[in-house]
Amino acid sequence: MTPISTGSEWTFDLLDEYERAIREIAVKEYGLDVYPVQLEVISAEQMMDAYSSVGMPVNYHHWSFGKHFVSTEKSYKRGHMGLAYEIVINSNPCIAYLMEENSMTMQALVIAHAAFGHNSFFKGNYLFRTWTDASAIIDYLVFAKSYIARCEERYGIDAVEELLDSCHALMNYGVDRYKRPQKLSLAKEQARQEEREQYLQMQVNDLWRTIPRPAKSGGEHEPVRFPSEPQENLLYFIEKSAPLLEPWQREIVRIVRKVAQYFYPQRQTQVMNEGWATFWHYTIMNRLFAKGLVTDGAMMEFLQSHTNVVYQPPVTARWYNGINPYALGFAMYQDIKRICEEPTEEDRLWFPDIAGSNWQQTLDFAMKNFKDESFVSQYLSPKLIRDFRFFSIRDDDRDSTLLVSAIHDDEGYRDVRQKLSEQYNLGSREPNIQVWSVNVRGDRGLTLRHTMHRRRPLEAGSAHEVLKHVARLWGFDVRLESVNEAGEVEQTFEVKHLPEQLSLQSA
């Protein structure tokens, strides 16, 4: 076959042809299941715009996005940073951005990577299937943007901005980790919004309902716990129970919460998602080359940028900055494929169920049913641990020195694997903070509880700042207790709510 193109310039016709060729390979030959694809050609400036609104094509306005934009713009103009080749949006149809500056080869790479790799991951992975609704997100953001804009008109930019600041501070604590969220839909949202607004406001009185409940058997004043169980979703709790919020404020809390929930799966599947997309662009480009559809030159260009993407600097390098998710993810999928196709003795011992199986089915299963944490603990092979020369370091503040706790040897494989998996566990990466109680009968103070994991304390400065935001949302005093494994309170932060507290900026 003759190559689709030979030059480096792209045209719309060529994009279309490449897309067809790639689709042929991805869908027909390898059976990837994807959302319809929408490719959008954009300029570098637009790429920066997209960057700063967390990749979404529409979003509400907030200064923090402006800050993001300003710093992106600066580093791009100075040449400190290349822009990402692609941004892809988990929506249906799946929107992938192509930057006009890219060469034809790079566009093909991006199409394979984003429009087929990420796309099939979004459609297949259980976290995305459970937590996000690809067909509704854009509509929801349109709703959120116009709702917030209306609030700004009505209540002033400052009031809305303050509220958003506070919500953003708690964004990571605005997700349900276990309960499945409801589907979003623009029409439903709008229809329900007003009804909910009024209804919610009536509901708030729940906290101080005046009708006495029938006393329990004891009859004594057993202080009623509120909430009856600790709550992990701080924003949800605030939306439903903060006594003084206006209806529109509750709605905005809800919007931030929904957006946080939408991004929650992405934060848990970095290695898997990037690795998957990288694996597929690599496989597809090689297939294109094998079919004679791309030239040697294009292949060289592709390999050059591919190797850059999957490079893992060693810990000793000056520019070492943690584990490169592209490198690890790509290596793991390649490794699974290898175990399927050419298993060694070791592989048969470690992975008896997949050694020698059909690699496409095995990969598909792996992509669909895991997140980073479980993916690593399930599939990281001794060979990869050796290849990466992984080792783990234990830093105990009670010891004066650091300890190398495991390396790539027989004794250490499981250890390293378990620790790496733990490293991707959002639950242990982020402090575990939950709503503990509300002093319903007293000062209405809210108590949060941080359950310490391996004696790790909170960073005091930022914890104090965030608590100020919580106090602003809650409207009364807020306490935060760090509780150690023995159940004793080790550290307490407290913020008094001042009604006239207008600015949170410490300066």
């Binding site: 490719l39 934009f69 990571n172 900026q505």
Partner: protein
């Protein structure tokens, strides 16, 4: 199959609002940073954007994250020499990466640096400065005329006929003259027909109807449907479009005592003023006058670059300026601003003379007169003479500049927005 959409033509400034929000929020810090950036910097750079940095602490968004302490265990790639059980000292400056980018928002004393566009920069730069004496608005230069709608007239060219208005007038006239309508006529005619068709004898009625039809026809014919009298024309009048124009006189002493450094400071001051005027007037002309013992009008290059020597007679420049104003800049059409820079040297006998020319003939013509004295030594006689002028005239300002860093503060001082006292 796939949709390919070219979005390049869509607006690229989607983030403009967010950017503006960002600037709005950190206005105070940005302002401080701008005035810091200005100090000692070449003023010509001001015209372009400016790099500004504000403390990271202020722009950070706090989130809960782990602090130091407790047990952390991280996996790293690229082991070279360690085996299990090795111990080594903590590296200085934080133990190993790990924990993602947790500390990104926490510590870090670095500044958050970014660039302001020219427009944004100028906004901050000239914020709460105002041109004093913008009273001359009624005397704006009249150059352009624009035609605006001004209702309707009863005469004009056929192309301008307003059909709606004309017909409305015609209808009103017909109603006023109680002209019958066609439908009225038709009605009677129909009645007549039915009468004729019926076999009964209705002679009287038929005659009545015929008479009425005849009368209606006559009246219809006698009152025209439209009359030249009804015609209305769209009216447009030409209104003078005020264009504000200003002329700025730069007067500088180039005598031997003004060295390069002083001239440079003067230049910066002039450019500041020029930029500032540019924001207020659409059209600005600049006249450069330099003087030692005699004054000449020169172009910009000569003004700043050529060197003269010799003594100083300030009044020569003032005379020349007066002449130029009378010749070219009629003060009823032009807003006149003057910036004079000198090191304060002057012939002793001339200073009193200068003050007199100023207060008698120049100041009445000017919108504003700013005098800056660039010197490190004691003020000389010119300063004291001018002080007297200042007491009498509100639109005369004078300040002393010692070093480059003073220029901006002095400029701000001179053009500080004043409480609206003058009507």
């Amino acid at each position: 199959m796939a949709h390919i959409i070219d979005r390049r033509l869509n607006g690229k400034n989607k983030s403009a609002v967010n950017r503006e929000r960002f600037l709005r929020r950190f206005k105070a810090q940005i302002k401080e940073a701008v005035s810091k950036a200005i100090k000692g910097r070449s003023i010509t750079d001001i015209d372009s954007g400016e790099k500004v940095s504000i403390p990271v602490k202020d722009v950070s968004e706090p989130v809960f994250h782990h602090g130091k302490g407790g047990v952390t265990e991280n996996v790293h790639p690229g082991n070279e020499e360690f085996i299990k059980g090795d111990r080594f000292n903590r590296p200085q400056g934080g133990a190993g990466g790990g924990g993602g980018k947790a500390s990104q928002d926490g510590e870090g004393e670095d500044d958050f640096a970014f660039e302001l566009s020219r427009e944004e920069f100028m906004n901050v730069f000239f914020e709460d400065l105002a041109l004093p004496n913008l009273v001359k608005t009624q005397l704006m230069g009249i150059e352009e005329m624009k035609s605006v709608r001004a209702g309707y007239t009863s005469d004009g060219t056929p192309t301008n006929i307003s059909i709606v208005r004309s017909l409305r007038g015609a209808l009103a006239r017909r109603v006023a003259l109680s002209a019958p309508t066609l439908s009225e006529l038709n009605e009677v005619e129909e009645d007549l027909d039915t009468l004729l068709e019926s076999d009964d004898e209705h002679d009287i009625e038929v005659r009545e109807k015929r008479k009425r039809i005849h009368m209606l026809r006559e009246r219809l014919a006698s009152i025209p449907f439209i009359d030249p009298f009804d015609l209305r024309y769209n009216n447009r009048v030409r209104q003078p479009k005020p264009t504000s124009q200003a002329v700025m006189f730069c007067i500088m002493d180039v005598s031997g005592s003004m060295d390069e450094a002083k001239k440079d400071m003067a230049k910066r001051f002039f450019i500041l003023l020029y930029l500032f005027l540019q924001r207020n007037y659409e059209k600005i002309e600049v006249v450069f006058i330099r003087h030692h013992t005699s004054a000449v009008e020169v172009n910009e290059h000569d003004f700043f670059h050529s060197r003269e020597s010799g003594g100083t007679v300030v009044s020569s420049a003032l005379h020349l300026m007066k002449e130029i104003v009378y010749k070219r800049y009629n003060s009823s059409e032009w807003n006149i601003y003057v910036a004079q820079a000198s090191d304060g040297d002057n012939w002793d006998s001339d200073s009193a003379n200068c003050a007199q020319i100023l207060s008698e003939s120049l100041l009445p013509l000017c919108q504003y007169y700013a005098y800056v004295e660039i010197t490190e030594s004691e003020p000389q006689n010119l300063w004291y003479e001018y002080l007297k002028v200042k007491e009498r005239c509100k639109h005369f300002a004078m300040q002393r500049i010692h070093s480059t860093a003073d220029i901006y503060p002095v400029f701000r001082e001179i053009f500080k927005r004043q409480p609206a006292t003058r009507a």
